[in-house]
């Protein structure tokens, strides 16, 4: 069993009538993902690639069965769409949108916590369980079913590492991006806990970057729980100067905190193997 999404995932797309939503709905359908409805206020009754569009989540759920959501709507309206998906009891809710104000993100996460909903993102490439379900914008062809669980704060760097896992014959159980923003739904610890329970996952690839202390917290968790599966981590941003945002809103070294060095050091001392190059993750997992 993979984590969070699989064969039984049936998703509703928010923003399905927008250019990003339409484009990626097509790609998700081609991949085999069950996209059962779209929600765009004022566009109820239309169809996008054969998927029916509704005005509200409530209306959609009166016509189709669904258990997941993916959000493509622009940042100013993303909080509204995400909260509609959460209150409709869809779970998980994947938020692709980049640029959502942090105040909105904090409110989304508080409501998600109260309703025990898993939010993936915001500012994430999404989640994929190869050959079963792709809820996201990643290129499907680079992923193959296998034994490595992958969790990341990045997008294209995730593709880079997933492709190398595939090339090395390891494949993946589930790959997900937690999101590049300062406030996101899932921490590394949350995902490590899920991979721990998932019997098909034999090893974990963890892709971190500068900013915040999610990697340090993960290191403490691994150490404290004597985490039973091998983890190999790559941390991006050793060349980043303090005080500058490196593309992602959350990728910023503040003062002396959040540097790649402190993250690498704390993970290493917790027994996590460190790959110094993205391509080394697959090699290190193979060696074990």
């Amino acid at each position: 069993m993979p984590i969070l999404v699989g064969r039984n995932t049936k998703a509703i797309v928010w923003g399905i009538t927008g250019s990003q939503g339409t484009f990626h709905t097509q790609l998700m359908l081609e991949y085999g993902t069950k996209i059962v409805a779209g929600v765009t206020p004022g566009r109820g009754g239309q169809e996008v690639h054969g998927v029916p569009v509704f005005d509200t989540a409530q209306e959609a759920l009166s016509k189709v069965k669904a258990n997941a959501a993916i959000i493509f709507v622009p940042a100013p309206y993303a909080k509204d769409a995400t909260l509609e998906a959460i209150t409709a009891d869809l779970n998980p809710v994947v938020v692709i949108t980049e640029g959502i104000p942090v105040k909105d993100e904090m409110q989304i996460m508080e409501i998600a916590k109260q309703r025990q909903t898993t939010v993936i993102g915001p500012n994430t490439p999404g989640i994929i369980t190869p050959d079963q379900c792709k809820l996201g914008i990643m290129p499907g062809h680079i992923f193959k079913p296998g034994k490595v669980g992958l969790v990341s704060r990045s997008g294209t760097l995730t593709y880079e590492i997933a492709a190398s896992l595939t090339k090395n014959g390891l494949g993946q159980t589930t790959c997900l991006g937690v999101g590049g923003d300062p406030v996101v739904g899932l921490s590394f610890v949350d995902v490590l806990q899920m991979f721990k329970k998932d019997t098909s996952t034999k090893a974990i690839a963890m892709i971190g970057e500068i900013g915040g202390n999610a990697e340090e917290t993960a290191a403490e968790y691994v150490k404290k729980t004597k985490y039973p599966k091998p983890i190999v981590a790559y941390i991006a941003g050793r060349a980043a100067p303090p005080g500058k945002r490196m593309g992602h809103a959350g990728a910023i070294i503040t003062g002396k905190a959040g540097t790649a060095e402190t993250k690498i050091e704390s993970l290493r001392s917790a027994g996590v193997k460190i790959a110094m190059k993205p391509g080394d993750i697959a090699k290190q997992i193979k060696r074990r």
Binding site: V102, E110, I137, P139, A239, R245, G247, G279
Partner: protein
């Protein structure tokens, strides 16, 4: 007190805050401060305010707590100094309080904060009122940090926020329009190219080396910079063209990265997921012709239609490589060959 109004921290140390005892003196001091440069920013405005007889310097701030996913109030008796030093040396001297993002700050929470750093009675009420006002600014302005350092206890026991620094969340600018112009014009520590890049919506940071870097995706570009360091090279910049790397964005990125005269070799690293590599290759050639690029380029191009893309580049005598490692190594070597 005459205080320089600049958008950088540390103006006091730089001589931007001076006392004056008479109106004439205040005018004279203002003249010296106006026009001086604080960390690269010219002082255009000063604030003249009542000088406070300070007995103690305290600290209060509200920050975005990434791990707890809420605003957290930080308050300390150790004010007027670098709060990060206090946090690392004497963490017990900082009182922390998390605020529910749905309910918002209640008055009693402000009183808890004041009690947490040892204040009672009237002073407690004053601190609670300051905390409440800071919280209101935080929420109303979509701030990601608001900090009063120092928060002063005067000789007659009044609590006053003597200094205030606010950072606005860039992502909120679509609804915080009053900060939009300021965000464009006032970034004293940004270079001219960084300002240009921001206007074009590109994530670009100058780094001082000589290998220009362009890639798609923040993590991938950071990893590329790291790899250049590992091969003993020196990256000139961080530049992320983003997910859907179309011709216009690549052109804009090239213009900015090559606008830096220190760039001697250019490394482009594209992990074309959904983007087609042949489109990217054609775009690069097209731009190379239009812009008349003469410096050597190393291109790493993989993903959908990578063979076609690599062939297009090979026909134009531009080497393209499959792996990031090879690309980074080859960029550093090329630089050595040129030097």
């Amino acid at each position: 007190m005459v205080k320089a109004q600049v958008l950088v921290a540390g103006r006091g140390k730089a001589g931007g805050i001076k006392p004056a005892s008479t109106a004439d003196e205040a005018e004279e001091v203002s003249r010296t401060i106006l026009g001086m440069t604080v960390k690269g920013e010219k002082v255009a405005k000063v604030l003249v305010e009542k000088r406070l007889a300070s007995k103690h310097e305290r600290y209060v701030s509200i920050v975005v707590d990434r791990a707890a996913k809420c605003y957290t109030i930080l308050c300390s008796t150790e004010g007027g100094v670098d709060i990060e030093d206090v946090a690392s040396r004497q963490p017990e001297k900082i009182f922390r309080h998390q605020v529910d993002p749905l309910v918002g700050l209640q008055d009693f929470e402000g009183r808890m904060v004041a009690k947490g750093v040892g204040y009672s009675g009237k002073q407690m009420v004053q601190i609670a009122s300051i905390v409440g006002k800071l919280y209101k600014i935080m929420v109303d302005c979509d701030a990601e940090l608001i900090e009063s350092n120092p928060l002063i206890e005067t000789e007659n026991g009044e609590m006053v926020a003597a200094d205030l620094r606010i950072l606005i969340d860039d992502n909120s600018l679509f609804r915080q329009k009053k900060f939009l112009e300021r965000a464009k014009t006032y970034e004293p520590d940004m270079t001219a190219l960084e300002i240009q890049a921001r206007e074009k919506g590109l994530a670009y940071v100058e780094l001082g080396g000589n290998i220009g870097i362009i890639g798609n995706g923040a993590g991938l570009v950071m990893a590329t910079l790291d790899m250049i360091l590992d091969y003993k090279g020196s990256p000139a910049n961080f530049c992320d063209v983003g997910g859907g790397a179309n011709e216009d964005r690549i052109a804009a990125a090239l213009q900015i990265v090559l606008g830096n005269p220190n760039v001697k070799v250019l490394l482009i690293n594209i992990m074309g997921g959904i983007t087609r590599c042949d489109d990217v290759a054609r775009a690069i050639l097209d731009i190379q012709k239009k812009m008349g690029i003469t410096i050597p380029m190393v291109i790493r191009l993989v993903g959908t239609n990578e063979k076609e893309g690599q062939k297009i580049l090979a026909d134009a005598n531009i080497p393209s490589l499959n792996s990031m490692e090879e690309a980074a190594e080859s960029a550093v070597k090329m630089l050595g060959a040129r030097a």
